[in-house]
């Protein structure tokens, strides 16, 4: 896989970002990730750069009101102008009204569905309305695959290794496949060495 930024070097990192409900995946090489200021897991050789949050948003502290914060269940009404119909999350079905009553979001999508009403909510509850801390790390490409995808990749590689008569590599791949295939109910301690 080639880096999507420079189009030259091999991509070794995968960065997942979600903004306004859309998730994008970007595959980068170590150099471009460093250039873009993306922090990477320790040991990947990339210096600790600016976190996404800090590069995009200001770092000023919110003005904290007095009094302790209670999640007493429910979020106070903010004088929403009359006549507006209640917003509903398309994924989990939670309505904004229900969210206000219970004080809990139903799913990640709710944040997008209620986006234009959340500034008021967070201003009241948190003081701040934008995240300025850490976000998802860029992770090595092979670890970003779901186990099923990883298995498929490994099996293809095993086939190739066998056909190339690279039996040592094939044996290593076979062991990793066996580990991932561990069927439910078997204790790891009983595996053959």
């Amino acid at each position: 896989m080639i880096c999507e930024h420079c189009g030259e070097r091999e991509a070794t990192l995968q960065l997942t970002r979600t903004s306004q409900g859309k998730t994008t995946v970007q595959r980068l090489c170590a150099d471009c990730a460093g250039e873009l200021g993306i922090a990477a897991p320790a040991g990947s050789g990339i210096p600790f750069g600016a976190w996404f949050g800090q590069s995009l948003f200001g770092g000023s502290k919110p003005d904290i009101g007095s009094g302790t914060l209670h999640n007493a269940g429910g979020i106070p009404s903010f004088g929403v102008p009359g006549g507006r119909h209640d917003t509903v999350c398309p994924k989990c079905g939670l309505s904004f009204e229900a969210f206000r009553k219970s004080g809990l979001f139903g799913c990640a999508e709710c944040y997008t569905a209620f986006a234009d009403r959340l500034d008021a909510v967070f201003r009241r509850i948190q003081g701040g309305t934008r995240h300025v801390g850490r976000t998802l790390e860029a992770v090595p490409v092979h670890r970003a695959e779901a186990p099923a995808e990883r298995l498929a990749t490994l099996r293809a590689e095993l086939k190739r290794a066998v056909s190339e008569e690279a039996y040592e590599r094939a044996a290593k791949l076979r062991d990793e496949i066996k580990r991932l295939e561990l069927p439910a109910g078997s204790a790891p301690g009983k595996e053959q060495p």
Partner: protein, 388 residues
Amino acid sequence: MSWYIDAGPESDVIVSSRARLARNLRDYPFPNRLDSRQAQEVARRVTDTFFNDEGDARQDYLLVDLDAMTVEDRQALAEKRLISDDLAREGTNRRLIIRRDEAVSVMIGEEDHLRIQSMTAGFALDDAFRAATDMDRRLQGILPIACDERFGFLTACPTNTGTGLRASVMAHLPGLADGNRIRETVSGMGKMGFAVRGLYGEHSKSKGNLFQISNQLTLGISEDDLIADLQGMLRQLMEQEREARQGTFRRDPARVRDKVARALGAMRYAYLLPAEEALAHLSDLRLGLSLGLLPGYRLETLNRIMAAIGPASVQKAAGHVMNADERDQARAEMVRRLLRMPPDQVPRSADAGADQPDGARTGDKPEDTPLKDQESDTPDVDGRQIDT
């Protein structure tokens, strides 16, 4: 080495530090809107992925099926602060992934899919945060975590949105409590954006003078700033507390000595010891230790006692159901024994895996672990140690 026994930095005032990160999987509703099939999937997916991942997962971590435990056993875990009270109550599809030294764990099935927690002895928030972040990184590498550029990490409750970080310490404040300055101290901290909760009882009447102090805000402030703010406030608090203690002692040393001596007497000789009383005495003993009035006793011993006196913990150590009187008797006996031990012989190890039968617990799928094994194999050091 054990985070709840060891004396850490500033441990005369700060008993322990904790960093908790709230995370959710991207592709499932939050726990409050999961049906039971999905909840089961979430638990299964997280635990399978974690234990099948490359590396030390199976050697260094245990999987605890909280559903398979009795409510008393869960309460024992909650008393040791390893799981939340919520998770200890009735529920389903709850799991705990816990490192053998019990300092790092992941709760599954709480208000958010994942609650990462890391505990350290004494005042060591940086260490606790670092360990929690390591686990966070590890999970991000193998599971799709819900995170947004505008709102940060997406949590069920808006009080956790953003960093999802709750940094907290357990503080022992007998000096301020004695001087009746707790209420103003607590409200002062509240105004600065910190939450204060009496560990046992409400704010100003916390039994044992133990308070949990944490950040309130999680959005609009970076993790580093959040922790730095908390540390700064706590340094001031520690100074105030120490001054208050010294002040009280200087004003009336005989009374303080008497209080400490009576606490020691009760703990060393009482035949029936209710939990509340034990907590109150522990507070006096901690104070006595910090004032140099208890040579021959170590903080580790007091920490050990505190971890073991909860009602569920006492019952678990005894191995059978007890009524209140029986518990009070068992507690008294346990405390007498611990106080009689030479300090360097007080059991220190929290290595829950040291004497596990081969292949028994690590990485086991929940339904494979019979209920009976859970009782003895749960990483609860106290039960085994006290029985010897």
